[in-house]
Symmetry: C2
Subunit: 199 residues, 2 copies
Amino acid sequence: MQIAEPLQIAIDELSKLPTIGKKSAQRLALYLLNRDEEQVRRLADALVNLKKDLHFCKRCFNISEGDYCEICMNEKRDSSIICVVESVNDVISIEKTNEYNGLYHVLGGVLNPLAGINVEDLKIKELLRRLQTEEVNEIFLALNPDTEGETTALYLARLLKPIGVKITRIPTGLPVGGDLEFADEATVGRAILSRVTLE
Amino acid sequence: MQIAEPLQIAIDELSKLPTIGKKSAQRLALYLLNRDEEQVRRLADALVNLKKDLHFCKRCFNISEGDYCEICMNEKRDSSIICVVESVNDVISIEKTNEYNGLYHVLGGVLNPLAGINVEDLKIKELLRRLQTEEVNEIFLALNPDTEGETTALYLARLLKPIGVKITRIPTGLPVGGDLEFADEATVGRAILSRVTLE
């Protein structure tokens, strides 16, 4: 049996999404086929509107419905600190904590020469421009503590040091509620080296 | 930060899909936001067309572009045997083997009283009607060898026995290329009980 063409097309398009392989795509397509037309239409519209109604903030490259994002437009936020993150996903994660009140700068990736992502592919030039035009006291590097994230943080720290801005980074350590017994050696090793004094 | 509404809607709609949770939905939505409009439009169109152009075969409930599916319309197929499966997914799996040349009957699920799926929710009435109007010699129950699949197969076998049709089922055993050492106990146990004679 040839798989019916509309099904094959849907499977092909779905399997272009990250983490969705051919088998998952087939299952998703057949699931949608069993739902009512209204639900499928709602999903399709939501995806199209996502692209139509959302843009990237011209200042920090967070997602935004207008030229500038909600965070950049919010006068109550502390504009003297910029948190540098890899992606919009990270902005959402940090915002969910309600612990940060500064601005952001979304790099749009991390340095990864093997995957062809170099300095000019990230919004680093734009970050430097912000440092010239905005009054910034602190750059908070909240990049993931993996090889690429650390490399990028190191690169940025060296680049920004001459400017004289304070540079901080997200600490590594055990997760809250974590367990020394089950943590990986790299995490425990790093936690030991960067132990903090109880005051 | 409130998540921008178009993004929140897309996340909500995506997370209604099976096996996709809130976090995956967010990652998929942000991925699409970074693709060009053309690709997102192709995906959305494919999903809408899936529902618009595909129906279920009026005879066997396989997917079909017209009233009857390709398999039911194919005169070269052996119409004296009906393979009963849970879902269209299973039809595709069996067709891929090129080993089966009969017709199908898609139940649209398996008996699962705990999940509220009872006899009247499956296409069992329709299967009985086919047995009255078509000349069928064999019903091949190709349901999954799990609790619900076995229960359904047992129910169907008892229901169909009085009709006098030959009833077969898919055998359980080790997968081709499998290894006794790594197979689970239930599979090995069942394989031992249903061992076959070498001829």
